[in-house]
């Protein structure tokens, strides 16, 4: 089936790439074998990445119509649906306002200390949402329900809008705004009619990311007793391991994710935002803030204190309260080592797996490579709990040999976080001119050697950036790890979770602190990377 598919598809590739405008195709000395091998690999990866989706579809079908209907159309699902929809409906707009507002102040006004604020607003991303929730529950023990959910989700996820918005605002061509001003528009009108439309991609992309995180989050909401589909699936899993009710909830959740993806594609639109024409772009102008200076400073201060200062403060307070007792090395060191091991192995595997796809997308773009990417994009938008459930079932029933091995967990990480690596490898590949590769070959190097010595080396920095992002995601991953980890596994996230659910808050604190410390440099890297990507 797979070979058949790739054999049918790979001949399309040269034709497809001919239709694109990239020049120099005629002299390309690459033998077709290399391309089709890479295509085959990419197809295999794509098929593999469709396992979770296939699993949910299969389970829904296998459950039988009547049972499925009974389990899906019941009051409890209504409650969860209401909770989940309200969470998205309230949190996403608030994140958009905070993210875009913050980005605009930092990038386009004469805000004092804007360089400092630019980093401070990205910093909350270094704090895992469930650690944030733990700190807030300490500060306000009565937190529960939808509004607490909105509060914690907003403070944890607004940087997902802020970072791309700031990157885009930083490189907007001021010429358009100047033309608008010369046509008589005031600053507010310019912001809403000229600036905001150009942020559309950053905003829809950020909103999608926030929504997907909202659907996937477990720990943060479980701690404040707010039930969403993901927390309810986890509850079902803990009550029945792999029961039908949990699987049906998962199918509703998957449906939800697909709707969001479609909505994002539709609202992104087809308009062109890139600058046309030659010449250097002027630096964006900065508006004076005058008497808005102090309120702006205070607003940003409040936001960063709530999103970053408060969690850090309470984590440190618990660490101090726990004293030396909580740092017992025989529990702590294995968790740290295993987290580092899974993080590095998962990041390395993701880069390796991402390479063929990125290569096809950049060097041989076609509908085929788009389909491959899309299939993975869909999977990575599924919550960790769905991927975890799928892998538990598939491995236990079809490949019992790999069941409960670290390989399965790493494979799940790869599927969940592949796009983070892909984006980076792609930009790296795009910056490595293939003419250099071709030159090396015309000087007598074998294609493989020239690829390794030229392209791979030029792409390495971008790949390392991608690896760092995946590493960050793995360190903070909870649900898939809880479901799939091999016997005896303790990661920082699972240890933190087990301690904090026994309300041993001081015992949990060191794990929280370490997760933040590991995340901080990666968050900074992500912030830097976003500027580069937007600037190219």
């Amino acid at each position: 089936m797979t070979t058949d598919l790739s054999a049918r598809i790979s001949p399309e590739i040269p034709g497809a790439s001919a239709s694109t405008t990239t020049a120099g195709r005629g002299k390309r000395p690459r033998p077709p074998f290399g391309v089709s091998a890479i295509s085959l690999l990419a197809v295999l990866i794509a098929l593999f990445s469709l396992i979770p989706l296939g699993y949910v579809a299969y389970m829904t079908a296998a459950t039988g119509w009547d049972t499925a209907v009974a389990l899906i159309f019941r009051p409890r699902v209504g409650e969860l649906l209401l909770n989940t929809v309200m969470l998205v409906v309230f949190t996403v707009p608030i994140c958009l306002v905070l993210g875009v507002g913050g980005a605009w102040l930092v990038e386009r006004t004469r805000l004092r200390g804007h360089r400092w604020w630019a980093v401070a607003l990205a910093a909350p991303l270094a704090i895992p949402a469930f650690v944030n929730s733990y700190a807030w529950v300490t500060a306000v023990p009565s937190l529960e329900g939808i509004w607490s959910g909105v509060l914690i989700a907003t403070l944890s996820y607004f940087p997902l809008v802020y970072i791309p918005a700031a990157a885009t605002l930083g490189r907007l061509d001021p010429a358009i705004e100047q033309s608008a001003a010369s046509l008589g528009l005031g600053p507010w009108a310019i912001f809403f009619r000229v600036v905001l439309p150009q942020l559309r991609i950053a905003m829809t992309g950020g909103a999608l990311l926030v929504s997907l995180h909202l659907l996937a989050e477990y720990g943060a909401f479980a701690m404040i007793r707010f039930d969403t589909f993901t927390t309810a699936i986890m509850t079902q899993f803990q009550s029945t391991f792999n029961g039908t009710a949990g699987n049906m909830l998962a199918s509703v959740l998957v449906f939800f994710c697909l709707i969001l993806l479609l909505a994002e594609v539709r609202s992104r639109g087809n308009a062109r935002y890139a600058r046309i024409g030659s010449g250097a772009q002027a630096k964006p102008t900065r508006l004076p803030l005058h008497h808005y200076q102090i309120p702006s400073q205070l607003a940003l201060l409040a936001l960063t204190v709530l999103a970053f200062g408060l969690p850090i403060f309470f984590v440190l307070r618990w660490v101090l309260a726990g004293g030396a007792r909580v740092w017992s090395a025989d529990e702590f060191l294995p968790a740290l080592l295993q987290t580092l091991a899974y993080g590095t192995a998962g990041a390395a595997a993701t880069i390796v797996v991402g390479f063929p796809m990125a290569y096809l997308a950049v060097r041989h773009p076609s509908w085929f490579s788009k389909m491959l990417e899309l299939s993975n994009y869909v999977t990575s938008s599924l919550p960790g709990i769905v991927v975890g459930l799928a892998f538990v079932t598939v491995s236990i029933r079809m490949v019992p040999g790999v069941y409960q091995t670290s390989g399965v967990l790493i494979a799940a990480y790869v599927l969940l976080f592949l796009p983070r690596a892909l984006v980076n490898i792609r930009s790296g590949l795009a910056q490595a001119p293939k003419e250099l590769d071709e030159a090396a070959q015309s000087l007598g190097k074998a294609p493989l050697v020239s690829f390794l010595k030229v392209t791979l080396r030029l792409t390495a920095p971008a790949a390392a950036g991608g690896a760092a992002l995946v590493f960050l995601a793995i360190v903070n991953e909870l649900t898939a790890t809880l479901l799939l980890s091999p016997n005896g596994t303790h990661t920082l996230a699972t240890e933190f979770w087990s301690k904090s659910s026994e309300i041993d808050y001081s015992g949990a604190a060191p794990y929280a602190l370490l997760m933040i410390l590991l995340s901080a440099p990666m968050t900074y890297l992500l912030f830097q990377q976003s500027k580069k990507v937007a600037g190219q």
Partner: protein
């Protein structure tokens, strides 16, 4: 550039090294110490699927490993999560031993025919009322149902006579429980066994209307302490454990035992069993024998778990209400049905 490419290789190498490090991290098998409690020599390693509290099992495991040199790998989960997992894994299960907090999950694995018989020497250590008649597994500890409440909000004469009263309208919005936990599901299983399906469904419906859901018994108790609810239906030792530490989560609560063989006086037996598919059943049996033996039960008496000791004539922790004063209803632990319970609770909208 060169450094980056090398860095990637280094990452891959580090990953491999770290993985193997992690794999043998806890493999420092202490030399086989002098063997006092276990009569047969055992060796090798076993995997324990553990739904008991992390810390309690760790105390057992450390003492057992110290005594026998058997390396024990623990997989942590909840009762029914792990029992269902064992059933799905079937003969291929990596588990040698299964420990739970309650009985229903044990009954489930027993009904699937996956348990080996418990060694006679172990059976002899455990009184008949704390193990199933089949001896396919055994009780290892016990825990009592209790209502912890806020004295300032409920006067003694307003306390419910029976757990079933909590479904009545006057309790609306006033009590907490942790329906996702195996503890609570065991209480429901006992109710089902005592009063039948219709009464249980009725009670669960009333519960759904009245109660507030928390994740975990300690969190429910903490809610009473913080004044968020008036009472919580939990197990006794969360209260005693917290009192023994700082009392931070329990200083404002009082435990109330229903007694009189009420469904709310249910004494839940924690189970331990050896799987038929165990690749090291000698060591697995030795482990169960160890935790039901004198040394294992003394961990319950002297340790920080505050669960009831039930075997080898070891007394429970002196701080607890003595087990014979609890007036628990007689329930055969082998008859508790977890699948039916989660089904009923799902239907009632609690899961």
């Amino acid at each position: 550039m060169k450094i980056r490419a090398n860095a990637l290789t280094a990452i891959a190498l580090a990953a491999t090294a770290a993985l193997s490090l992690a794999a043998c991290g806890n493999g420092t098998a202490s030399s086989a110490a002098t063997d006092t409690a276990t009569s047969t020599k055992v060796a090798g390693e076993i995997t324990v699927y553990n739904a008991q509290h992390d810390t309690l099992t760790k105390e057992w495991v450390d003492a057992f490993t110290k005594q026998t040199g058997v390396k024990v790998t623990v997989r942590q989960g909840s009762d029914t999560e792990l029992s269902n997992q064992i059933v799905q894994e079937g003969a291929a299960s990596p588990a040698d031993v299964f420990l739970t907090e309650n009985s229903p999950a044990m009954a489930q694995v027993e009904n699937a025919g996956l348990f080996a018989d418990i060694d006679k020497a172990t059976v002899d250590q455990v009184p008949a009322e704390y193990r199933p008649s089949t001896n396919k597994w055994t009780g290892i500890a016990a825990r009592s149902t209790v209502l912890v409440y806020d004295k300032t909000k409920i006067s003694d004469d307003k306390l419910p006579k029976s757990m079933l009263d909590l479904a009545k309208p006057e309790w609306k919005g006033r009590w907490a429980a942790s329906p996702s936990g195996a503890d609570f599901q065991a209480i429901v299983a006992a109710l089902l066994e005592q009063k039948g399906e219709a009464a249980t469904t009725e009670w669960l419906k009333g519960m759904k209307d009245n109660f507030k859901a928390y994740k975990g018994n300690s969190t429910a108790m903490k809610a009473v302490n913080a004044g968020e609810v008036d009472a919580a239906l939990i197990y006794h030792y969360y209260y005693y454990g917290d009192q023994a530490k700082t009392g931070e989560n329990s200083n404002k609560v009082t435990p109330y035992f229903f007694k009189s063989q009420d469904p709310g006086a249910f004494l839940s037996v924690s189970g331990g069993g050896v799987l038929k598919s165990s690749k090291n059943s000698a060591a697995a049996q030795a482990f169960i024998k160890f935790i039901t033996g004198k040394q294992g039960q003394e961990v319950l008496k002297n340790g920080t778990s505050y669960e009831y000791a039930i075997a080898s004539n070891v007394d429970s922790n002196a701080k607890l209400v003595p087990i014979k004063d609890l007036q628990a209803p007689a329930v055969d632990p082998a008859k508790l049905n977890s699948a039916k319970v989660t089904d009923l609770m799902t239907k009632a909208g609690l899961l």
